[in-house]
């Protein structure tokens, strides 16, 4: 199967990083698609948790929001939001937090709060939501985003959530005991933090992608691993699962209420 988009490659590569015994706190957008592809392919028993309180959910279509009814209908249980953040997130029950980013730096620090100055922003973004504590309370953090010079920057405008800070042992120095970002999956490559510096390093290029392409779409000087692998192309099953999911989702989101007033 050679005919796939870079977006599809990104989602499928991300889905492969998830296992059957993971308990995954799912952000909306690309993370949600990746988590559900994993569930529908190699990890049928993965536990997906959305911050709206739905635990062990198995939606047939991707939710538009983190609180669509589908998530509750298919969940093992649905708890209140304080319980979600106290017992399940802060309680250390989540193995993987899956985040997207508007701005990302090489140490996995994320900004989804503002572009420009906080007090006088050029662009006011939605803000962190659950991310500040997802980043510190989950066992480890996976990040997925499309590469761009605007998105992958040398210096983010605001520390919405803390990755490895200035790198090295910065997390430990702040008293954070979890691993932080351990994986970055973009539309071009798979990245992992260097063991010592914690700087994200490309370990695998997606099929047909060059080093120059990765660098051309990243705002910092990219480091590549000594042995660079090629990400296996999507299998037919993976691609069909993702496309079917997207098709069901698009149909559902156009929905029966299109001609209604908002």
């Amino acid at each position: 199967m050679s005919d796939f988009t870079s977006d599809e490659m990104m989602t499928i590569a991300a889905s492969r990083a998830l296992g059957n015994s993971d308990v995954c706190f799912v952000g909306i957008g690309a993370p949600s698609a990746a988590c559900n592809v994993a569930r529908l392919t190699h990890a049928p028993d993965i536990t997906l948790i959305y911050e709206s309180g739905t635990i062990g959910t198995a939606p047939d279509v991707l939710p538009l929001s983190i609180g669509d009814g589908e998530l509750c209908d298919t969940a093992v249980t649905t708890v209140s939001v304080p319980e979600m953040f106290r017992y399940w997130l802060m309680g250390g029950r989540i193995t993987i937090g899956f985040l997207g980013a508007a701005q990302l730096d090489k140490f996995g620090n994320i900004n989804t709060t503002v572009i420009g100055d906080y007090a006088h922003p050029k662009t006011r973004l939605p803000g962190g939501g659950g991310a500040p504590e997802i980043a510190s309370s989950c066992g480890e953090i996976y990040i997925t985003m499309k590469q761009s010079l605007r998105g992958m920057v040398e210096k983010i405008d605001f520390f919405t959530s803390f990755g490895h800070g200035e790198g090295g042992d910065h997390r430990q120095r702040l008293g954070i005991t979890t691993k932080g970002p351990t994986l970055l999956i973009t539309d071009l490559a798979v990245w992992k933090p260097d063991r010592h510096t914690k700087e994200f390093t490309v370990v695998s290029l997606h099929p047909g992608v060059t080093r120059d392409q990765v660098q051309a779409n990243c705002g910092w000087q990219v480091k590549f691993a000594e042995t660079l692998e090629e990400t296996p192309a999507p299998t037919e099953t993976e691609l069909k699962t993702l496309r079917d999911l997207k098709a069901r989702t698009d149909a559902a989101h156009r929905g029966p209420g299109t001609d209604q007033a908002a």
Partner: protein, 284 residues
């Protein structure tokens, strides 16, 4: 003790200019009808509290009702930014509300502490996060047993909270089902509470462990079928995702926004909501 009344009376008797007001709902059960009634009655200088301010806060901010916003995620979930809120914060149109921004964990803990009658919430949070530098209400306490530094923020205690729920019984006990969010805490943390419901029933007939707010925790109940639209009411009608997508276009410009508000809010009433959910009702 809960009194049944029109939405108009419920809002006018419980919301005042200058109040700290929460219109809560975590994607599900957002009290759109109540917020529209507040817009029609033209309140000013409100401190608007909500974990996930979305369309109704975009609308209230765009209409100049907000002096201050307290929140943890100010977006159109799954769609993008809130264009009226952006215009207010970035350009001061129609005014520039003060901002107190938290994480979800912070807001959830602050509501929980408010419901528990505590002055502050204490939790493990904001480690390395930029909000701790820009929000003076994020402080810390030290665990007297381990020495760990924990985050402390003031509890949320709204003057009035508005929520939407599935149903009330004739005594005024209210049932909330599905994604129950932060609604119980929003009601119990507030001085006054107003609930809109899809219907009144003789008996809630609810399992003992479901989320029921006893009548004596609520001040006013108004029946507004469809009152959560374009959000949804589990068991009654589904989320109008298309309307959330459409809002992005409406709110893009000041004049399309104002035209829409006049037509759909100022010149309308709570009775229009039932019609809006007609095609979204599911029998399952």
């Amino acid at each position: 003790m809960a009194s049944f009344m029109s939405l108009r009376d419920a809002v006018s008797q419980n919301l005042k200019d200058g109040n700290a007001a929460a219109f809560e709902g975590f994607t599900h059960l957002i009290p759109h009808a109540a917020a529209h009634e507040a817009i029609r009655q033209g309140f000013k200088d409100l401190t608007l509290i909500r974990m996930t301010p979305d369309l109704v806060y975009d609308q209230m901010v765009g209409m100049g009702m907000a002096r201050k916003l307290v929140f943890s995620y100010i977006g159109n979930p799954g769609v993008g930014l809130l264009r009226r809120a952006r215009d207010a914060i970035e350009n001061g149109w129609p005014n520039r509300p003060e901002i107190e921004e938290h994480s979800h964990s912070g807001m959830a803990n602050a509501y929980e502490a408010g419901a528990a009658g505590l002055p502050c919430a204490i939790f493990r949070g904001y480690k390395g996060a930029g909000l701790a530098q820009v929000n003076a209400n994020i402080k810390s306490v030290t665990c007297p047993f381990t020495g760990e530094e924990l985050a402390a923020i003031p509890s949320v205690r709204p003057d009035v909270s508005f929520i939407h729920a599935q149903k009330a019984d004739r005594k005024g006990n209210v049932l909330i089902e599905g994604i129950i969010g932060i609604q119980k805490e929003a009601v119990l943390a507030a001085r006054r509470a107003v609930v809109t419901v899809e219907e009144i029933v003789d008996d809630l007939d609810a399992h003992p462990n479901l989320c029921v707010l006893p009548a004596w925790t609520i001040d006013a109940i108004a029946v507004v079928p469809g009152g959560a639209h374009p959000s949804y009411t589990h068991g009654y009608y589904v989320r109008d995702n298309a309307a959330y997508l459409e809002w992005d276009r409406i709110a893009a410009e000041r004049d399309t926004f104002l035209t829409w508000m006049k037509e759909n809010v100022l010149d309308a009433g709570p009775e229009v909501f039932a019609g809006r959910v007609g095609k979204l009702r599911r029998t399952s």
